[in-house]
């Protein structure tokens, strides 16, 4: 197999790779906000349960979580594994990333000086207004570097979908590598991820810059 055919075959999976990436972000970013909110709840039970769930999601391999979400329903309830594996893959990724995002949000929110809340309080802002007008915009700026980190990691983590044989770029590459007994597909995959992350860096850098009008 020529290098060119290899590249062509693997790029057929790029759409799926991108689908995992984009859908995970779309679901995990808001879901993380809800998880962070539960984690910071004044209700001890809610916050402790949430903390426990986060510790499981962060303390066990994403690969294991992928397998559990994809095949768990079959072993537990004998529900047949869905043919479109994108759904379980995105569910597993979104939940896992939401746990990380939640902790980033929490760190950002808790790092806000109490004076900002007090100034808003005295000016008569409601709790919702204080959060959405005063706190959140500042938190977003503070946590942007950590978010970029997660997004970059996510690009590479999409390769883990090969464990459930979802036909994304890396899975195809691995299959070619096996059939051709060649290491070349892995190098091609590496270049793909590197270019993908170059774009991510560019976009995230633009976003960070757009918020640098104050310090």
């Amino acid at each position: 197999m020529t290098l060119m055919t290899m590249i062509m075959k693997m790029s057929e999976g790029l759409g799926r790779t991108f689908a995992i990436f984009a859908l995970t972000l779309i679901f995990s970013i808001p879901l993380g906000m809800i998880v962070a909110w539960l984690r910071m709840s004044k209700n001890r039970i809610i916050s402790n349960v949430t903390r426990f769930v986060i510790s499981i999601l962060r303390g066990t391999p994403l690969m294991l979580q992928l397998l559990a979400v994809t095949y768990g329903p079959y072993y537990l309830f004998e529900i047949s594994v869905s043919r479109n594996k994108l759904i379980p893959v995105v569910i597993a990724f979104a939940i896992n990333y939401a746990a990380y995002f939640a902790e980033i949000y929490r760190g950002g929110i808790e790092s806000m000086p109490v004076g900002q809340y007090e100034a808003a309080n005295v000016l008569g802002y409601s709790k919702m207004q204080t959060f959405f007008h005063i706190i959140l915009p500042q938190v977003v700026k503070r946590i942007m570097p950590s978010i970029t980190n997660e997004v970059v990691t996510l690009v590479k983590d999409t390769s883990m979908a090969f464990t459930v044989s979802y036909q994304e770029m890396f899975t195809i590459g691995k299959q070619i590598a096996n059939s051709q007994t060649s290491f070349m597909p892995f190098l091609v995959a590496g270049v793909f991820y590197f270019i993908f992350n170059g774009v991510v860096d560019l976009v995230m850098g633009k976003i960070e810059k757009s918020m640098s009008y104050y310090s």
């Binding site: 100034a119 309080n121 005295v122 008569g124 700026k141």
Partner: protein, 253 residues
């Protein structure tokens, strides 16, 4: 008329630390009251209780005759949300470290609350903001961000932000303590100007000369109680209490 009336305010932190031991303070419309005293005397806590940032343990609080806190069986009971919201409209607070909103321009700092809290039309809020900035000598900083301003300028913006809400009474919590001496003057000048315009103010300060010149009445606090209270000139020039004398002597050295 009393704008602010506090009766027998007690604040106990963690059930043991007695910070305020029964303070009563009334402020009339147009009056300027300066609160002085050593660190830890409870001055700031008193201000925080008055501005509803800290819950008092016991006591009474009323703005313009409307009761906000009453005491039932030795425990402070706060009025409902609507009443608290209304009370918050009566006062403004200028913080020691400004607490401007860093992500907002100077103009946005001044108009965001009037628009979103008071429901004032945007054009009107902008007009008011411009007048206030002119008065503070900051007309050219309208589009600047707080981080581009000096401490003194930031504090003047903070005063303008509080005034934009058209409060009946303005509290100052050591407004010059975070500023170096050269910048202190510009803040004191602004407060003096407000006093001439008959703004009702309560100022916690360590600037004794300023307190004497600008305040109508001085309250000297120590150990959670009001030790001495009276006309500004009298308290500073001829303190009656031995504790007040000792405190003021330190400033004259």
């Amino acid at each position: 008329m009393n704008i602010l009336k506090m009766e027998n305010v007690r604040k106990v932190f963690d059930g043991t630390l007695d910070v305020l031991k029964g303070i009563s303070l009334s402020v009339d419309a147009g009056e300027v009251v300066a609160i002085i005293g050593p660190s830890g005397s409870g001055k700031s806590t008193l201000l925080r209780c008055a501005t509803l940032l800290t819950d008092m343990t016991e006591g009474e609080l009323a703005y313009k005759g409307e009761s906000i806190v009453t005491t039932v069986d030795g425990k402070a009971v706060y009025a409902d949300k609507a009443a608290l919201k209304k009370a918050r409209g009566c006062f403004g607070l200028v913080f020691q470290n400004f607490n401007l909103f860093p992500h907002y321009s100077v103009l946005k700092n001044l108009i965001d609350a009037p628009i979103n809290v008071l429901g004032i039309p945007k054009e009107e809020a902008i007009e008011t903001a411009k007048v206030l900035l002119e008065k503070m000598g900051l007309a050219d900083k309208i589009d600047a961000y707080p981080c581009q301003l000096s401490g003194g300028q930031q504090q003047r913006v903070a005063i303008a932000r509080a005034l934009a809400m058209k409060p009946d009474i303005l509290f100052f919590d050591e407004p010059t303590s975070a500023l170096d001496p050269e910048l202190t003057g510009e803040i004191l000048k602004v407060i003096r100007q407000l006093a001439e315009e008959n703004m009702t103010m309560v100022i916690v300060t360590h600037e004794m000369i300023f307190a004497r010149d600008v305040a109508d009445r001085i309250v000297f606090m120590d150990g959670g109680v009001i030790v001495e209270e009276g006309p500004a000139q009298e308290v500073i020039n001829n303190p009656k209490e031995e504790r007040t004398q000792r405190f003021l002597n330190k400033y004259q050295q």
